[in-house]
Each structure stands twice: as C-alpha cells, then as structure tokens.
C-alpha cells in the first residue's frame, strides 16, 4: 500500500446521504399530512378536554343493559359463523383452480386470482353498504359482505399453501391412473386439510371483529346498538357494549388459537 486509507465514519458517505434524504422526506411528509388531517400535537391538546369528558362519562357501565347486548352479540357471532362456513365451502373450487401447480394453464388460474385480488381490496363494510342497498337492512347483507370478503382471504391463503405442497404423491396417483378429481381428493386435500381448518378459524376471528361494526351501516349485529347509544350520548350503556365486545373477542380468539396450535 502506498497511500494511507482515510476512514470517514462507520458508514459510507453515500449511504449516509441516502438515509438522510429518506428521513427528511418521511418527516416532511408527516408534517404536511398531520397538518392536512388536523392531527398535530396542537390538535391533540385542543381535543384533550373531549377525551377527558368521555372517559369520565363512560363509567360506571350500565349492567342492566347487558341482556339486550348479549342478544345482539349472539347475532354478531352467528353472522360470522354462517359467513365463514359458506365461504370455506365455496372457496374450495376457487383455490384449487387458482393453484398453478394443479392447473398450469395460465388461462385458468390467472383470471380466478385476479378476481379474488380485486375482492380483497374492497373493505367489507363497503360491501355491506352495497348489499344493504340491494337486500335492505338486516343480517343477510352483513352475512353476504363477510362471505365475499372471507372468500378472497381464504382463496389466497389456500392457493399459496397448495403451491407449496409435496408434488411426489400427485405423480404417484397420476401414474396409478387417477384423474384430476382423484388426484385432488387423494393427494392434494389430505396434505392441506390442517391448514385449511386453521385458516378457516383465522377467517372466523377476522369475521367476528368485522361483524361487530357492520351494524353501523344497518347490516346486523351489535354495531347497531353501539352507534345508537353513542348518538344518544348514553355512555354508561356504550361502556357495557364495549366491555361485552372485548370479552367476547378475547374468548373467541383464545379458543380459536388453542385449536389452531394443536392443528399444525
């Protein structure tokens, strides 16, 4: 070596510059968006009294209201059960057709995937708004919204699972003269059944949470009560509803997680 190496810090200058520019951009954008959405620290201080008022008004919860809430909670869970069950059944042909290792022809799996991708981008509550517009107020539009939304999630999770399965048994069943249906039934489904049950339970958890809010747009469930009581400023009742939702969601998640742990 004929020249002394000059070490400037621990990272290269170029890298430092790049990080600085990104950081400035991120922070600058934040300052702009927080002003545009009126969400700066100042707005927070302005709103403080409001938070305080609500926090005080919520207590104590009004437990005499609980039985009525329980009824609507049952409806919420039932909506999730029906939507999840139907979505699980309907998703089977869809995820099979979307799996490129079963149907290598892109004309089959690509359109199905595209449709499912589009469905997944539509928020469930927006679907509910549309279905309420068609079927009128009630649980049915809510179930339809949850169903369509779950279909998209399940189809994606499952076709990705299928594309990762062991293809060897499939060769064996084909070599024994099995047709496509038999290959699916004897070699594909046994391999993905635990994941299918696990994902279905996961979608059920998602659906319980989602169906809590569907009532905001008239699509059934506990959300209707919540919105009503908030607009009547009846905060002790609101607190009752919130506690009941919380307990129900935690219990359902716990049970579902325990089952899923044992499955996989």
């Amino acid at each position: 070596m004929n020249s002394e190496t000059v070490v400037q810090g621990l990272t290269s200058t170029k890298e430092k510059l790049r990080i600085t520019i990104i950081l400035i951009a991120v922070i600058g954008m934040y300052i702009y968006t927080s002003r545009a959405t009126e969400s700066s620290i100042l707005d927070f201080i302005d709103g403080w009294s409001g938070f305080q008022r609500i926090a005080v008004d919520l207590f104590p919860p009004n437990w005499s209201y609980a039985p009525l809430v329980g009824e609507k909670l049952a409806e919420t869970i039932q909506m999730a059960i029906i939507a999840t069950t139907v979505a699980a059944l309907v998703s089977i042909p869809i995820f099979l057709l979307s799996a490129a290792n079963l149907f290598p022809n892109a004309w089959i799996h690509m359109p199905v995937r595209l449709l499912m991708n589009i469905l997944r981008t539509i928020p469930d509550i927006l679907l509910a708004v549309i279905f309420v517009g068609i079927f009128g107020v009630g649980v049915f539009p809510g179930i339809m919204a949850l169903f369509i939304f779950s279909l998209g999630i399940l189809a994606k999770l499952m076709y990705e699972t299928i594309e990762a399965i062991d293809m060897n048994p499939i060769d064996a069943i084909r070599a024994a003269g099995g047709n496509t249906m038999q290959v699916i039934w004897f070699a594909v489904l046994p391999q993905v059944l635990p994941q299918f049950v696990s994902f279905t339970l996961y979608v059920f958890e998602v659906n319980v949470r989602a169906s809590v809010v569907l009532g905001f747009v008239g699509a059934g469930g506990i959300g209707l009560l919540l919105q009503q009581q908030v607009s009547f400023f009846n905060y002790p009742r609101v607190m009752t509803i919130i506690i009941i939702i919380f307990v129900a969601v935690v219990i359902i998640d716990y049970i579902s997680n325990k089952i899923r742990e044992r499955l996989v």
């Binding site: 060897n168 048994p169 070599a175 024994a176 003269g177 099995g178 038999q182 004897f186």
Partner: protein
C-alpha cells in the same frame, strides 16, 4: 411386451432426453437400466407410462402405440403400468391403507372413489398386498410414521393393488441404506417372479444390478450403449457405460447374508 421403435425425446428447453431408442422387453422379464445420472434412465422409464411424452418414434405396449393415446386411453394404460419412485411418493398424512387403496383409482369411478366406495374385493386385495410385503400390521398408521424402507414397501403394495402387467421403478433404493435396499429389491424380484410382472428398474449401483437383473440395459447421453443378459456383463461393460473406471461409490456393498 414393450417395444421402443426409434424413440427420441427432446425437452422443451432443447435438452435431448432420448436418442433413437430401440428396445424390446418381453413379458415377465426383470430388466435393470444402469447409467450415470442424466444418462436418460429416468426419461426412458417415465415415457412408458407417459409421465413424459417422447417427441419421435413409436412406443408399443402390448402392440399399441401409446404415444398417440388420448386422456381416456392414457388412464387405462396407467392402470396396467405401475410405478415405484425414489421418494416413495406416499401421501404422508394419510394412512397406509388409504395410500395402498389409491392403487385402485384408475379402476374406480370418480364419485365412488371420493365416497370411499371401494369393492370388498379391492379392500381385500389391498390388505393382501400389504401382507405380501410383510407390513400388514402397519395398516392404520400414518405413512409419515414409517421408516424409508417401510414406506417403499407400502409403495410396492400400492403398485400390487393396481394389478399391473408392468412395474416401472425409478431409482427405488436411492434414498435407502444398503440392507434396506436389498430388502426392497428382493420384494420387487419376488413380485416379478410370482405374478409374472414385467419389471424395469433404474439403478446406479452396479453390484445390485448384477445381483437382481435378468438383463442389463446400459444408457449414456440418452442412448442405449449396452443391452444383454447379466452373464455377458463384465467390468469393461460398465466402464463403457459409465465412460470411466468403476469406483467404490458405484457399489452399494452390504450384500445381505440373511
């Protein structure tokens, strides 16, 4: 009888899998195909049940050219041609019995097989097939609970349940240790003799080929470079097939002394 007439196969990526293969295998023969990996052994075997389709020539099985078979004929062909794989290819999460009965799928209608409505005779056949490879007691265990050798025996039982005329075995012992390898080869040999099933096995171990084969076919770069009974095979034959001196790792060793 199986007859290759000038069969060639070029893969879509341009690789030549088979080059002008001419080969005749009589009913009940036990043929071992040897050669280095990439010599075309696997392609040769897989073209006989059309898991790959040769691009040129004629491949006659029982007098019919299988290369122009449609879906329905192919399914019929595959019921008569059983296959054993290097990795056993069992559905690991299913029971042994369910794996074995799946040998009947080619004979069973879609709806019947999905509803599990196999004939009594078929269930009995599956059970007896398991018994023939001495693994009947594992009947209701999950396939992934068995050892490699046991899984390959289940795979043999699956093929037996198919009642094939021909069995193709693609490197059936490549994933097994020497004693287990000999055991599996013995079962293959046994069903070949007892049921007069034409058996074609790919192997890369020379000593094992010599011990079990009636006839050796040597392949090199997609061509058949040797074809003759075991009695005609010498060390020079293998050197010609392999294109180099025989080495220690071309032998499985562990001749079983049961």
């Amino acid at each position: 009888m199986i007859e290759f007439k000038d069969v060639s196969l070029v893969y879509p990526n341009g690789t030549q899998g088979l080059k002008n293969i001419n080969l005749k295998v009589n009913q009940g023969e036990f043929v071992v195909v040897v050669g280095l990996s990439g010599a075309g052994k696997s392609t040769l075997i897989r073209s006989m049940n059309r898991l790959v389709t040769p691009t040129d020539g004629e491949l006659l099985i029982e007098g019919n050219n299988i290369l122009n078979y449609n879906h329905r004929n192919l399914r019929k062909l595959r019921t008569r041609v059983g296959m054993i794989f290097q990795n056993y290819n069992l559905v690991r999460r299913s029971t042994v019995m369910r794996n074995v009965i799946s040998g009947r799928l080619g004979h069973t209608g879609t709806v019947k097989s999905i509803l599990n409505l196999f004939l009594k005779e078929e269930v009995s056949l599956a059970y007896q097939s398991l018994d023939r490879v001495n693994i009947a007691e594992k009947l209701y265990q999950r396939a992934d609970q068995l050892s490699g050798g046991q899984q390959q025996r289940v795979a043999i039982a699956r093929v037996l349940t198919q009642q094939p005329k021909i069995v193709l075995a693609d490197e059936p012992v490549a994933s097994l240790d020497p004693p287990t390898s000999h055991q599996v080869m013995k079962y293959l040999r046994k069903i070949n003799k007892e049921d007069n099933i034409t058996t074609i096995v790919n192997l890369h171990f020379i000593d094992m080929a010599m011990e079990y084969a009636d006839r050796i076919v040597g392949m090199r770069s997609g061509e058949i470079v040797f074809d003759g009974p075991v009695s005609e095979v010498t060390e020079q034959t293998f050197e010609k097939i392999y294109g180099r001196k025989i080495r220690e790792d071309d032998l499985v060793g562990g001749h079983d002394n049961e």
